[in-house]
């Protein structure tokens, strides 16, 4: 069981530079407003990798959001609000909750849940159109979520 690790152990690992075992998707503790207080990994987020995830792979946040801080990314979407200033509007815990599972913050939102592995209808095997075989990984890893949150925290109001 992953959660038997406990906070003390996570701190110890983080402090010693070793990677602590991440909080599993089903174990993430959301508060009543959808925020997640505790880091999913105990390790600090990497802002640069967070910026990369805005564009690439399973993040692809720019498909739906504009991010003025990343003007090099072509074709920024307009489904959700622009993320400019997100780091001023929200706390780190709130952003962690939004990225991990936005539906806990915004009821019924179109935004995908990036750190979730259960409750899907006709879950596919990636973008193949075929059925998933066995368990699927979340769209973002625990560390990816922390990296994305770290990047969002840099998006302050001017």
């Amino acid at each position: 069981m992953k959660n038997t690790l406990g906070m003390a152990a996570i701190m110890a690992f983080a402090g010693s530079g070793l990677l602590a075992e991440a909080v599993a998707p089903a174990e993430v503790a959301y508060d009543d407003y959808g925020a997640v207080e505790v880091s999913l990994t105990g390790a600090p987020g990497n802002v640069e990798n967070g910026a990369v995830l805005m564009n690439k792979g399973s993040g692809n946040c720019v498909a739906c959001h504009q991010i003025a801080a990343l003007p090099e990314l072509a074709f920024q979407g307009e489904i959700g609000p622009a993320l400019d200033g997100a780091g001023s509007r929200w706390t780190e815990a709130e952003l962690r909750g939004i990225v991990a599972n936005a539906k806990k913050t915004f009821d019924g939102t179109m935004m995908p849940s990036f750190y979730k592995t259960e409750g899907y209808i006709r879950l596919g095997n990636g973008f193949t159109g075929k059925a998933a075989e066995g368990d699927v990984p979340p769209l973002l890893t625990a560390q990816d979520v922390e990296d994305v949150v770290a990047f969002l925290m840099t998006l302050k109001d001017e």
Partner: protein, 271 residues
Amino acid sequence: VSALAVTAHAGPDEDQLTINEEIEIVTEAPAPAHLEGVVDTIYSGWRFRSDETQAMQMDDFDNPGLVGVESAQAAFAAVDGTEGKACADCHNSPEDLAGVKAVYPKWNEEAGEVRTIEMQINDCRTTRMGAEEWKYSGGEMTDMVALMAFVSRGMPVDVAIDGPAQSTWEQGKEIYYTRYGQLELACANCHEDNWGNMIRADHLSQGQINGFPTYRLKNTKLNAVHDRFRGCVRDTMAETFAVGSPEFVALELYVASRGNGLSVEGPSVRN
């Protein structure tokens, strides 16, 4: 705020579609009654495409989908199967079937099911011609469907959703609003809540099917409606339904009904 404002793309454009300076196409119409409170005005996907893409559909000489129509014209006259018959033996000319595409999918009393035009064509091939079934969304079938659309161009889409078709229609509606796959997205998330918006590089339309089959510049061929459904479901990271499946037949009836009042436009051109 940012230089990235994309308002230039917002919504459908104002262009009007007349094909060959002759066939008036309704690309904007009041929404059918069953969409009351959901959408006021329905638009053809043509209104969301670039001027260059739009232009290709305004003249049949520039529309690459017409190649498929021509080969279907030949197939219509060609004898096939054990009965020694061609479509033309019973239906005379494709023009005799004008208006048919506009009302499909349609309840078939004898079979006791809702049928797409593909199912109807394959039924004629197997039971009346003794010929092999065409692959549901294969080239020959899609060409023939394009011919059926071609002879109905400009006529209003008018599929029936009541009576015996109603339960199939309800099933299609449920599929339309179900959030499938790991991205948990329903047709409605993109085509009802966000039409007119950009999703990455794509300008979202209402996902209407009055233009099918569509010639897509992306894969340079005529695309069947169930293949488009499959692509959209796949993009939600879901297990898709099969082409020709009861689920997609139901979804087709429902999506077609959201376009009741637009003109049949196929073969259309899209990116």
